[in-house]
């Protein structure tokens, strides 16, 4: 297990290297110039050249990349062109907000998704099953942007129960967490349902039932535990995805998370910010995948890594 984990961690290094190279090249290939963006449409060529030199953007591309990678090895992701703050600091400032949203969203999705999935499986092909499946389809297909505004209208404007935007208190996180969670509830419910159905149709369940084992024990002790692997996979993927930030939800609720940082960086062509955030987001995603894989061994003793 330890050897496997170390091997997997070492594999992350080339992955991140390739990602950094691709992102660097793509950023410099797309049209747009951070300096023109910063100095505005009326800036003189002279001022643009002077600022470009100051920021080191007049250097050849390969030198810029080597200098960026040298910094990365020392834990320095460069300095934001726009805010003049170290990118590491920017990410550390924004990450707590994204983390809160990701944890909250995952909890909402997991709790409701599993509950709905189990109910649907238990009432397979009955009204409740169909009802939940329609709801889950709605949840997956409702755009987060739309859901955010609807929730705001209802709970902030009409009912006055919750604040609409900002990050001042825990209450500010309720609506964005529900929005993010709602998107995953449907996927979670569907995954749980199909995993449960597969297990519930197996012989040992039928045997247990014929031996008079109570249905509650069959569902939670026998079936659910054995249906966990696909569920854990989806939880891991969704959590990894949420940790990458949700630029849309963060923008609508005015939450300064990592997703917004990255999108703003792209729009302003703030190269160091985009490179830094994508590197961190990719690393998080890869690590989440690794943790999910390791978790398989915990939920299913048959899974062994060596």
């Amino acid at each position: 297990m330890l050897g496997y984990t170390i091997r997997r961690i070492l594999q992350i290094i080339p992955v991140l290297f390739v990602i950094s190279l691709v992102v660097f090249l793509m950023l410099h290939m797309i049209p747009g110039d951070p300096v023109k963006n910063m100095l505005g449409i009326n800036a003189t060529e002279e001022a643009i050249e002077a600022m470009r030199a100051k920021l080191g953007l007049d250097q050849p591309l390969h030198k810029q990349y080597i200098s960026f990678m040298k910094g990365v090895l020392k834990g320095d992701l460069g300095t934001s062109i726009h805010t003049r703050k170290p990118v590491v600091q920017e990410i550390l400032d924004k990450y707590p907000y994204t983390l809160k949203l990701a944890v909250g969203g995952t909890i909402v999705a997991t709790v409701f998704g599993i509950i709905f999935g189990i109910i649907a499986a238990v009432y397979h092909n009955k009204f409740m099953d169909n009802f939940i499946m329609v709801l889950s389809l709605l949840s997956v297909s409702t755009p987060s942007f739309f859901l955010s505004l609807i929730l705001m209208l209802i709970f902030s404007l009409y009912l006055g129960w919750l604040p609409s935007v900002g990050v001042k208190s825990w209450a500010h996180y309720v609506l964005p967490v529900i929005t993010l969670g709602a998107q995953s509830v449907g996927i979670m419910a569907r995954t749980t349902r199909s995993a449960m159905l597969e297990v519930l149709n197996q012989d040992y369940i039928r045997t247990s039932r014929s031996r008079g084992v109570p249905e509650r024990i069959i569902i939670y002790s026998h079936a659910f535990k054995n249906a966990l692997i696909p569920i854990v996979t989806v939880i891991g993927l969704r959590f990894g995805g949420l940790l990458a930030g949700s630029a849309l939800v963060e923008t609508v609720f005015a939450i300064p998370g990592i997703g917004r940082l990255m999108v703003d960086g792209v729009l302003k062509r703030d190269y160091p910010v985009v490179q830094g955030t994508i590197l961190v987001i990719s690393a998080t995603f890869v690590i989440m995948n690794l943790l999910t894989d390791l978790l398989y061994a915990v939920v299913d003793p048959r899974v062994k890594y060596d």
Binding site: I30, P31, G32, D33, V35, K36, N37, M38, L39, G40, I41, N42, A43, T44, E45, E46, A47, I48, E49, A50, R52, A53, K54, H82, T83, R84, K85, D93, I115, F116, I118, I119, V122, M128, S148, L149, M152, L153, I154, F155, S156, L157, Y158, L159, G160, P163, S164, V165, G166, V167, R216, T251, V252, F253, A254, P256, R260, L267, K268, R269
Partner: protein
């Protein structure tokens, strides 16, 4: 267990359905935080919460380049001169000023006892240090462009400073009102360099407010400055809480979480105006929306073709369908609030005349062209679509190219005539110095570098060049106005540089309890006199 789960699920579903059916409740959210000032008569809150659409980019007067930053810089800093409510130039940090006989040396007598937020007294050395930073092109600052004619800045004595220009400059007093030339503390310039204005501790101004805290994209808090040399600000704290999404901004205003919002979508204005407890303030601004011509294009370079396109457009249709109540048809290449504006009247759509002009130009069956636009400007794509439809009616087939802002900025300037490929392109215009010099020179005068620079569309008309140059050097206001009037006549219709569509109104939606907010013609919103009733 199953029953419990079912019951829970049903309750969950019911909450949503009930919520959707319920009527709007009384607004209970407190708009401000903190207590109230103990005063006789009407009681005021000590905090105003304002939601712009974006966070401040930079609080360095020499670097700031957007309305949100500019309006906060105005609260923190002062300029030597300023515009009063009627648009007249009056002293701000300067007590008085005079110009030499050759109209090249301007001497400013500074007010005494003006304090920076850290307690340092403002003197002529501060003015010199500030302007010399702006004048050095090696610093790569946005402000450098507007101080190009400054030759030297000298300290005459502790409270007197003189600025010598390379040639007489008629718009000098307007320029000295520009917030980009706010007086800074050179000690901070040396200490923070390029990082100046990017954090709360790097800011030291003389303005009515000082910075209390700044967490980027979350909240920026200003606190009134007790030692301010002018009239003290009546409200202790001004909180800027950026909300990027327009619909969310409107909801935050309606719930009372914020007291005022910037950038109200045109569609929401009538509803907000009808909402009890809310008001929408609209004011004339220097801002105009136009589509400029790329005069390097072989077809567009023909004056008659450009005139035809100018006549092809129905401006009222555009305003009614996209900006109802927030725009008025343009009447010149400058808005009425800009000094030097001459009313040339609204250009009405005249398709017959347009077709006739096209025929005279040698294109009786029209031609194919391209309109370049960006979503950065409000309804930029819709504007291009309406224009293309109206061009089609006179036989001109225009393909629309939509560009993301960063890409647009890169393709619009610093190019040669061979490289530039935008026959008709969207543009926002409005001189922040509120003077015709800022609105015309550079933008429509022939470029000398061979690249388009600020004259994005390679417009070139000898008479316009001479008029704008003469007006710049002329210090008699009446003569200057005459020169600008003639220049505008040419730019607007005789040899058009663009299709001027409409003048924009600045809007501010706010709680009716909020009073005395200052909305300037350059669309900045400031709170140095503002109060909010409990």
């Amino acid at each position: 267990m199953m029953k419990k789960l079912l019951a829970f699920m049903l309750i969950f579903t019911m909450i949503f359905s009930l919520a959707a059916c319920s009527k709007p409740a009384e607004n209970t959210t407190d708009a401000g935080e903190g207590g109230t000032s103990a005063q006789e008569g009407p009681k005021y809150k000590d905090t105003i919460v304002f939601a712009p659409n974006t966070d401040v980019q930079s609080l360095d007067p020499h670097v700031q380049n957007d309305t949100t930053s500019e309006q906060v810089v105005k609260m923190l800093y002062n300029t030597l001169l300023k515009f009063d409510e009627n648009g007249n130039v009056v002293g701000d940090l300067a007590e008085s000023w005079e110009v030499s006989e050759d109209n090249k040396t301007w001497t400013f007598q500074l007010k005494q006892g003006v304090k920076f937020h850290d307690g340092t007294e403002m003197t002529a050395e501060h003015v010199k240090g500030t302007y010399e930073r702006a004048m050095d092109p090696a610093n790569g600052l946005v402000v450098n462009e507007i101080v190009k004619m400054f030759e030297k800045v000298e300290v005459v004595d502790k409270y007197t400073v003189s600025i010598t220009t390379t040639e007489p400059y008629g718009a000098m007093t307007s320029l000295m009102c520009n917030v980009s030339l706010a007086v800074m503390d050179p000690a901070y310039i040396d200490k923070y360099g390029m990082d100046l204005g990017t954090s709360a501790e790097s800011i030291n101004g003389t303005g009515p407010y000082k910075i209390k805290s700044w967490e980027r994209d979350v909240e920026l808090v200003l606190e009134s400055f007790d030692d301010y040399y002018g009239e003290k600000a009546p409200t202790k704290y001004i909180v800027y809480r950026p909300i990027p999404e327009a619909a969310a901004r409107v909801i935050a205003l309606e719930t009372g979480e914020v007291d005022a919002i910037q950038g109200v979508p045109a569609d929401d204005v009538p509803r907000l105006e009808a909402t009890e407890g809310l008001s929408v303030y609209k004011a004339r601004s220097v801002g105009q929306r136009l589509f400029r011509f790329g005069c390097n294009d072989s077809i567009i370079s023909n004056t008659k073709v450009r005139q035809a396109l100018v006549y092809a457009v129905d401006r009222q249709v555009i305003i009614d369908s996209l900006f109802d109540g927030l725009a008025v048809p343009s009447t010149a290449p400058l808005a009425p609030v800009t000094w030097g504006y001459a009313n040339l009247g609204e250009i009405k759509q005249d398709q017959e005349k347009a077709k006739q002009l096209l025929a005279e130009a040698g294109y009786p069956d029209g031609f194919k062209t391209k309109i370049v636009t960006t979503e950065r400007y409000a309804k930029g794509v819709e504007l291009a679509e309406i224009l293309a439809a109206q061009f089609a009616e006179i036989g001109v087939e225009a393909e629309i190219q939509v560009m993301e802002w960063s890409a647009f900025v890169q393709t619009i300037s610093g190019l040669t005539a061979e490289e530039f490929d935008e026959p008709i392109f969207i543009m926002g215009a409005g001189p922040s110095m509120m003077d015709a010099d800022g609105g015309l020179r550079g933008l429509y005068t022939t470029t000398l570098t061979g690249k388009n620079d600020r004259n994005y569309g390679f417009y070139s008309n000898k008479e316009v060049d001479e008029l704008i140059d003469a007006a710049m050097k002329e210090t008699d206001p009446d003569k200057r106005k005459e020169l600008y009037k003639r220049a505008q006549e040419i730019l607007y219709l005789e040899d058009p540089a663009g299709i001027w569509l409409f003048d924009q109104l600045t809007n501010l939606a706010h709680s009716s309890k909020l009073q005395n907010v200052t909305v300037s013609p350059i669309s900045t919103i400031t709170f140095e006199k503002a109060t909010i009733l409990e």
